[in-house]
């Protein structure tokens, strides 16, 4: 039986006949290959169509809207030039939101990494009730961020929350920390909430990575008299670096999109001091109906962050 694209073994005959026969075989193989390709494409076509519909079409529509003037007061769908893009340059509140987002990311990410690493190391070895504790540790990560934000808002409440009460017990007098109103404390409140919720995510990924470090290398380092820190730095870290970078990338992207917990804690306040990009976009786009302008903002930020992401991925590839 002939396999697709593979001509049958030839057992002799005139050379002209062989060439003709080979040509016919090649043509049949080509047709068959085309049929196969068509079949493959037809199999993935529905999924591709849905992806185009869900991802590509909205993106194109977003770009189109960014060149219109749709707002609460205007309904201009004709091309309006770069008026929305020009506005971005002078929108101090937008760039403040970008800064706030990056600031929270820079604060929260290393803390989550460090705490996650410490927890992973702690639970690397077998311990009594290890599985139970690991399961309990993961719970914050499965809670909805909105719920987590609400919970922490109550915890931080001056009148009814336990945190100020506990601090007051230790201080010996009433301590009134305005976690969600005072700008000095609002960022710590946000970071605490985020670290509480997402350190378990780091922990579980790093735990898996640490568990897969080559034992022989660790034993060899121990035999050679390497200190714990040196072993970590020169054996463990290089081994887990790819997984760690992926975890950092995922958390970094999550932090750039941060909305839920900040919305519940501070609504972006006091003023707009903790407004993240997502909160700013929500307020402008869905509360104030500045539709075209926010479309332009999203396009610009998507380009900027995509460039940043590509650079990070390249750096990761180089490191590998």
């Amino acid at each position: 039986m002939r396999r697709g694209g593979v001509p049958p073994p030839h057992s002799g005959g005139q050379s002209g006949d062989s060439v003709a026969s080979a040509a016919v075989s090649a043509e049949s193989a080509s047709v068959q290959a085309g049929d196969t390709r068509l079949f493959k494409y037809s199999l993935i076509a529905p999924a591709t169509f849905i992806m185009v519909l869900v991802a590509v079409f909205p993106l194109i529509y977003l770009i189109v809207v960014s060149f219109q003037r749709l707002s609460l007061s205007d309904d201009i769908t004709s091309f309006s030039g770069f008026v929305n893009y020009a506005r971005i340059l002078s929108d101090a509140r937008l760039w403040d939101a970008v800064f706030h987002t990056l600031f929270i990311t820079i604060l929260a990410l290393p803390i989550e990494l460090l705490l996650g690493m410490l927890l992973a190391y702690h639970f690397l070895d077998d311990r009594p009730l290890k599985r139970l504790f690991v399961a309990l540790l993961i719970i914050p990560s499965v809670i909805s961020p909105m719920v987590a934000g609400s919970m922490w808002r109550l915890m931080f409440d001056d009148r009814y929350g336990p945190i100020n009460q506990i601090v007051s017990w230790f201080a010996g007098h009433r301590v009134s920390i305005l976690w969600t109103i005072d700008i000095v404390w609002a960022y710590p409140a946000i970071v605490i909430t985020d670290v509480w919720q997402w350190t378990p995510f780091m922990f579980i990924i790093l735990l898996a990575a640490l568990a897969n470090v080559d034992r022989e290398q660790l034993d060899a380092a121990a035999i050679d008299g390497a200190s714990g820190w040196r072993t970590f730095w020169e054996v463990t870290l290089p081994a887990i670096r790819p997984v760690m970078m992926i975890a950092l990338l995922i958390r970094g992207l999550d932090l750039v999109r941060l909305f839920d917990s900040v919305w519940q804690l501070t609504r972006g306040g006091p003023g707009s001091a903790t407004e993240t990009i997502s909160i700013y976009a929500y307020i402008r786009g869905f509360q104030e109906f500045d539709t075209s302008y926010i479309a332009a903002v999203v396009v610009v930020l998507a380009i900027l962050f995509s460039v940043g992401l590509v650079l990070v991925l390249k750096r990761m590839a180089i490191a590998r």
């Binding site: 609460l72 007061s73 700008i183 006091p270 003023g271």
Partner: protein
């Protein structure tokens, strides 16, 4: 019987019959709505309402009652107040028809009308309404319902800020003597913000930490509180010629600075207080003054305290101890208020209108404004004068008289194009100052943001809208 006497008797009888006929012919908007609505029995209306207590009225009381009367079901969707405007606008822009009945604030009417998001109600009023019942609406709230000569909503809640104070503290002879000796005037509900600060400080100095002079709301709706204070200080929102924002005028700086400075005579952590915190503190007897919405009076008096939905309200320790006055400056903010409107996307517009008319009617609205549940407050003259309401608790007549006066002297909310954006930025600026930002800087930033908004919206358009609003007596009460 003499002829003259006969004529008098017959004439008198005729007059009596005429009066009886007139009385029986006086229409009842509630009954008319119910009768007309029965033809739509079996349908369900979707109503967007403010989440929490306001929605509970529809869910627990008026919805089931309406169904019993007409066979029309009511499905209430709860939406937080700050999302009512955007969510309802979004649904309209999407053409979803998600809501038949909408809950709107007076300041939103212009924007919603311009976007075709409200159904004009005049044809329905003509068909089903009772004209005399509109005469009963207090003048302060009548304006809310119309825009450019057409009616778009029916008011169901007449909001206005009142000052609630502890009569027992103010009337204590020892306090009166000490205060007079220190400040040179009588201890009384403060009529200026300077006096407010002095009264607050006096009470706090004497009673803290058991009782503080005041506990004001400092988060949520701060644009209302600042708008009110700002105007009592003589502030104007815009220069009417140039439309430059003047919120950062000296009046604004003084108002916001005093607002921040007067926090120090209030309980620790008051900067984070919202409506619930100030209510619970007043009920618990922890503060001597607060400024808030009308339901506070009913809660402080323990009205319907056994209602399950109100179980979160601390049991009032101040029953019969609360007095009512106009806030300092004498011109309280008519802070939002609630109206019900029909969505132009509704497939049941007549039925939706009839439910609104029923709620808005003299007969039904009186019941609702007497309940703490539902957060509905007096908006009809008949509410203020109702013997039933006045008998609800001993000082209810004072409360109703003060409410009426507050409505008559109150400041209307700023209502221009895209008011929502101006409100949002004002609220943020005020909270930032309360959180520690320099008041002048907050207001300078606010003014710059407002100027930017005006430029985006269109200076001429916004100027026309502002001049229209500011021409009303309730804008600045000059």
């Amino acid at each position: 019987m003499r002829t003259k006497t006969r004529i008098s008797v017959v004439g008198g009888a005729l007059l009596l019959q005429l009066a009886a006929l007139t009385a029986s012919a006086e229409e009842n908007a509630a009954e008319k709505a119910v009768d007309a609505a029965k033809q739509y029995s079996g349908i369900t209306l979707n109503s967007a309402e403010e989440a929490g207590l306001m929605a509970m009225l529809g869910i627990n009381i008026t919805g089931p009652e309406w169904k019993d009367l007409t066979g029309i079901g009511l499905n209430v969707t709860e939406i937080p107040f700050e999302e009512l405007f955007p969510k309802q606008m979004l649904e309209h822009k999407a053409g979803s028809g998600a809501y038949d009945i909408m809950t709107i604030g007076p300041s939103w009417v212009a924007d919603m009308v311009r976007n075709g998001a409200l159904e004009p109600l005049d044809p329905y009023i003509e068909k089903y309404g009772v004209a005399s019942e509109f005469d009963d609406i207090a003048p302060a709230f009548k304006d809310w319902m119309t825009f450019e000569g057409k009616t778009y909503a029916l008011v169901v809640d007449g909001d206005v800020h009142l000052l609630y104070y502890r009569k027992d503290i103010f009337e204590d002879p020892e306090n009166k003597e000490a205060f007079k000796a220190k400040y040179g005037y009588d201890l009384a509900p403060p009529q200026t913000w300077k006096a407010f600060g002095e009264v607050c400080r006096f009470i706090t100095d004497k009673y803290a930490p058991d009782l503080y002079g005041a506990g004001l709301i400092n988060t949520g709706y701060m644009h209302f509180f600042f708008s009110e204070r700002f105007r009592t200080y003589g502030g104007k929102f815009f220069d009417p010629e140039t439309m430059k924002a003047t919120v950062n005028s000296q009046a604004g700086i003084d108002a916001l600075t005093d607002m921040v400075n007067q926090l120090d005579c209030q309980p620790p952590g008051v900067q984070t207080w919202g409506f619930g915190e100030s209510l619970s503190a007043l009920n618990a007897g922890e503060i001597a003054m607060t400024i808030s919405w009308p339901p506070i009076a009913r809660w402080a008096q323990g009205i319907n305290a056994d209602e399950q939905a109100l179980s979160w309200v601390p049991e009032s320790q101040v029953i019969d101890k609360i007095g009512y006055a106009l806030p300092p400056g004498g011109h309280p903010e008519l802070a939002s208020g609630i109206m019900l409107a029909v969505s132009p996307d509704s497939k049941n517009k007549d039925a939706a209108y009839l439910y609104i008319q029923w709620l808005h009617s003299k007969q039904e609205s009186l019941k609702n404004v007497m309940r703490p549940l539902g957060l509905r407050d007096a908006f009809r003259i008949s509410h203020y004068e109702s013997p039933e309401y006045q008998a609800l608790w001993p000082t209810a007549p004072d409360y109703l008289a003060t409410l009426r006066q507050a409505g008559e002297q109150g400041y209307s909310d700023l209502a221009i194009l895209e008011t929502y954006k101006y409100w949002d930025s004002m609220g943020r600026a005020v909270v930032a100052a309360i959180g520690g930002k320099d008041p002048k800087q907050s207001l300078d930033d606010l003014a710059a943001e407002w100027d930017g908004l005006t430029e985006q919206i269109g200076l001429d358009r916004q100027k026309a809208a502002y001049l229209d609003w500011s021409s009303k007596p309730s804008a600045y009460r000059e």
